[in-house]
Amino acid sequence: MSTPTIGLETTGLTKSFGGVRAVDGASVQFHHGKVNALIGPNGSGKTTFFNCVTGMIKPDAGQVAYAGRDITGRSPDKIARAGIGRSFQLCRVFPRMTVLDNVLAAKRPSRSGLLRSAHQKADVEKAREWLTRVGIEHLERSEARDISYGQQKLLELAGVLMADPETIMLDEPAGGVNPALIDRIADLVRSLNAEGRTFIVVEHNMDLVMSLSDHVVVFDRGRPICEGPPSVVKEDARVLEAYLGI
């Protein structure tokens, strides 16, 4: 299988809300098979960019391409089916469903399997495997609303993985969780990346970004101002200016 170096790519992506250009002609390339980070000050358009890419918001202009195919303006479920999974900034799970069903909801049944029981042995085993992988398999019967926020973050990740995406976009995976859990999430990202999954991570925790990522894209005012390996980006004058206003 020949893997293209560039997986996800946007060209001139633009989205305005009223008079505010949240994303302003952003052309970004993410490296396939790597951990990519997307950083930038608050309000720099990272989440809007994320939402445009995953189809939650329709961009006003520009293109999104994935693995050479144009996916601009497709519905989120089609984009998910093209192989891009995502987590949400404030983690989102299905509160009144059990932990196990939360993961099973990501399973994509064949047309003929739609009315078959959702608890097929193979699917349940696969779901348990992912729950074990993130470390919350002992909670499978609990309702998702009854587990802690950190556990919900892990559950969200297990759900995303159940769909078996090639590329995983994480919106602030370390937001609002304790340091021990941040380490666990970082370990998961590393091991999943080693198995061939591409990551695109929006994150404010700079230590995490610098230790985790292979490629960093810095956003300011709705467009990338700098990109490269963490060591280079860290020293870039434009980045310092954007963050510190120097």
């Binding site: 519905s75 998910a80 799970v93 069903d101 399997g113 009315l115 470390g135 556990q151 370990d187 091991s191």
Partner: protein
């Protein structure tokens, strides 16, 4: 443990079926039997509503549009086209299902309060159309529908047959609901109810799923409306396309529990009996409306999940736990977890040994 609770459920279902099937012979007089038919009709409509309300969480206050259309479609096919009544019932329901496709495509684009308002507007439009188009629908004079059974079948016998027909229709719907509830399709629908954007981001084709549930709900609601029309024999737009009928479906389902198979049925029995009681006791006063309003308030405030979930959690509280915390020491728990980990799927665990988190983070 699981098989015991499944066994209990089965016994419960058999008891319920026996109770329903024996009601016609137990009912002391034809009037109560007719009340039974009305209540079963409510149960059919509420359960039909629940295909969209319970699964997807889209609260339609305008489902009277589909019961009314089902009634009129069935009646008009019989009166104007001389179709066999049972064939008319089926054809009418299918026709309404077909009409629900464009309505669903248009209205399911909006969520929450907007969807509620769109659903109401359809009822109001249909009320005006069916009232004004007198030459075809009979207008405000109503539409008389001949009885499907011959003249020799007397009133009580009619009630009994229609009661059983409603039970049969209800059974079909409960079976369909149960099948969907346990399926992949059902998990997708419930995911939409819980968080639609999240479901879509996971790859659930939400637009199609919602539409299928909506059309199925409209079809069953129309069948309920059509069966009622055959029994009652007379349709008036004011009663068919009434916000009140749609509100009853919602109230009954919420009261019983929209996430439960039998919730709408239970709600229909309680609300239906109460409505008939208030009507009989206080005549044509609007007191039953006040009572229903109060009931809805009480349900939403104190039992937002409905009676069945409230009772289930009460029962669970008194049931002995399989392993109480008091019976297991900390050391034993650690031991158990260790043993569990060694015995789990080996490939992943060996490669990435991660201990389970019991308290992963804070809010």
């Amino acid at each position: 443990m699981l098989s015991v609770s499944n066994g209990l459920k089965l016994v419960g279902l058999v008891a319920l079926a026996a109770l329903l099937l024996s009601f016609p012979s137990l009912a002391p007089n034809p009037f109560l039997l007719s009340v039974g038919v009305v209540i079963m009709s409510y149960a059919v409509l509420a359960t039909a509503w629940n295909f969209v309300g319970g699964f997807t969480g889209y609260i339609s206050l305008g489902h009277a549009a589909y019961s009314g259309l089902g009634g009129y479609a069935t009646g008009l096919l019989i009166v104007k086209a001389d179709v066999n009544p049972w064939l008319a019932l089926l054809a009418g329901s299918l026709l309404v299902g077909l009409i629900a496709v464009p309505v669903g495509i248009a209205s399911l684009r909006v969520r929450g309060a907007s969807f509620v308002i769109v659903s109401i507007s359809l009822v109001l439009i249909l009320l005006l159309v069916f009232q004004s188009w007198g030459s075809f629908t009979g207008g405000s004079n109503g539409l008389r529908i001949p009885r499907p059974f011959g003249e020799d079948v007397l009133r009580p016998e009619q009630h009994e047959r229609f009661f059983l027909l409603h039970v049969a229709l209800l059974a079909v719907m409960l079976l369909a609901w149960w099948l969907i509830d346990r399926s992949h399709f059902g998990i997708g629908l419930k995911a939409i109810r819980e968080d639609e954007d999240k479901a879509q981001a996971l790859g659930v084709p939400t637009v199609t799923y919602k539409l299928v549930a909506f059309v199925l709900s409209a079809f069953f609601t129309a069948a309920g409306g059509g069966l009622y029309a055959l029994w009652f024999g007379f349709l008036d737009p004011v009663f068919q396309f009434s916000i009140l009928v749609g509100s009853y479906m919602v109230l009954m389902s919420l009261l019983g529990g929209i996430r439960s198979l039998l919730g709408p049925l239970l709600g229909a029995v309680i609300v239906g009996y109460a409505v008939e009681y208030f009507k009989a006791a206080y005549g044509d006063s609007q007191f039953h409306l006040v009572a229903m309003g109060l009931l809805l308030g009480v349900v939403v405030l104190f039992m937002p999940d409905g009676i069945i979930p409230a009772l289930t959690s009460l029962v669970k509280r008194f049931r002995p736990e399989a392993s109480s915390i008091r019976e297991v020491t900390q050391a034993e728990l650690v031991e158990q977890r260790r043993a569990g980990q060694a015995g789990g799927p080996p490939a992943d665990r060996a490669a990435h040994p991660v201990a389970p988190v019991s308290e992963g983070g804070h809010r």
